[in-house]
Amino acid sequence: MTDTAVAGGRVAWRGRLGTETLPAGTSRPAGIARAAGKARDARRTLQLALAGVWLIDGVLQFQPSMFSRAFGRMLAAGAAGNPAVVARPITWNASLVEHHAAALNAVFAAMQVLLGLGIAFRPTVRPALAASIAWAVGVWWFGEGLGGVLTGTASPVTGAPGAAIIYALLAALLWPAGGRGAAAPFPAAQAVGARVARTLWLLLWLSFAWFALQPANRAPQALHETIAAMANGEPGWLAAVDRNAAALLANHGLAASIVLAAAFTLAAAGVFLPRPAARATLVLAMIVAAVIWVTGQAFGMILAGGATDPNSGLLLILLALAYWPARAVTPAFPSSAPAELLGTAAR
């Protein structure tokens, strides 16, 4: 959207609505919109996607059930199975929220809406991203019980190692660091460098593989029961999808876990491969994330009401896009150009 695009909304009003009048010297709206699209780089687009997810989180936090004592009890459930040192602060926080549900939840909701708007608003993108990292880590501990990674029951299908930590990871990888942008092989490498970004991706996806093979997740009926439980309260079409997926996996828990672990491992290694192979494995990662998001997470159970976020599937798709290899860039300057000019171009 651009200035002329907006100005193109001007309508002459002499008896007929709809005679569009473009100001002198302007062209059709979409031509300018195209220029705006070019001006925004992939990292900024991903930042905006992250902002959108935070905004959705914020408005979800305004749901009626969040203002009841049930929200505090939901937080308290995150303590189950965790070591005392992790569980005790969760219980304390849950008790606090339970007793001041309205006030605290209003703060939580407003905070997340502000994080979303702050990331979308260019002058505040850095403080908002920094705050989102701190907030996400807090939510990961106090709201998600560290994603259940210490409980032995964490499953990547249900969101382990926790959606909140992926928010933090995305914010760190999409940090608007200057200097290396043009040379980075993919958007996530611009802030932290390609080696660190690839290592973080590897660790995350290998952790998925490891969680998928845990005894609690490879039991014959484990995946079946997990997915079947997602159908409760969902609209008919989504409940049917969940029920059918659960039926397919009945008594095939071990095989499904092995297939999932293999897919996760392949995706983990993908970012180290040459560009075409990397793209193929990223597509695989996105497909797996989408399937998990729909069947294993039911869009974070938003449609059933009472969800606080869209869970990890959507974030994993965004994360994969952050590793999408950039096109090879033709140097804008001849190799004999002065170094300071090349440096300027890189910035």
């Binding site: 959207m1 905006l48 209003a106 260019r122 869009f299």
Partner: protein
Amino acid sequence: MTPAWILDTFASLMLVVAVVSAARVAAARPWRPGSVILDTDIAHLLMAVAMAGMLAVSLRTLPDGAWAAVFCVLTAWFGYRMVRDASVSGVRALAGGHCAPHLVHSAAMLYMFLALAAPAAGAAGMAGMGGSAMQPLQYPTLAFAFGLVLAAFSVQDLDLLSAGRYRLAAAGPALPGAPALAGTGSVAVPRLLRPGTTVGCRIAMGVTMAFMLFVMI
């Protein structure tokens, strides 16, 4: 349930949007021959008044059916304009043109009123939202889809607004009543008439609408 003061806060925000949009329409002096007004301002005014009424019972103006008819017309209008943009500028107009957000806003409003006007919602419709239990919307998948798109448009608008892409240098001469700056050939555009103002209103409405949709799932 969501506390009434939160609903009232959003309703107040919508009243501000309505006042600003009405002021923009008035500033265009539609009673004068040759005057120009923004269809988007009309749409914003109507949406803001409707949403304020949905959020606070005391601000209710028209019956749900009447609002559904209004937003049906607006949806058709912006749909027509988007098709026209697309025929001139190609499919990019669908995502980048200015009509797409308004089309989604209008369609989302239409959906909300239709989903509430169903028999299950009862005669009070969403007017009961502020004072008693909130009515869940029918077809929550649509609410989810609209909420996602509205959030996307809101962050995109905020990004472009903060990038300074809504300055009005080229469009200045078309504005009614804007005084020309001596020797510059451009005009001093009052803040109220700047495109950024209407985009700010649209962001406020997008966030509020997403809030309503998700809260009523």
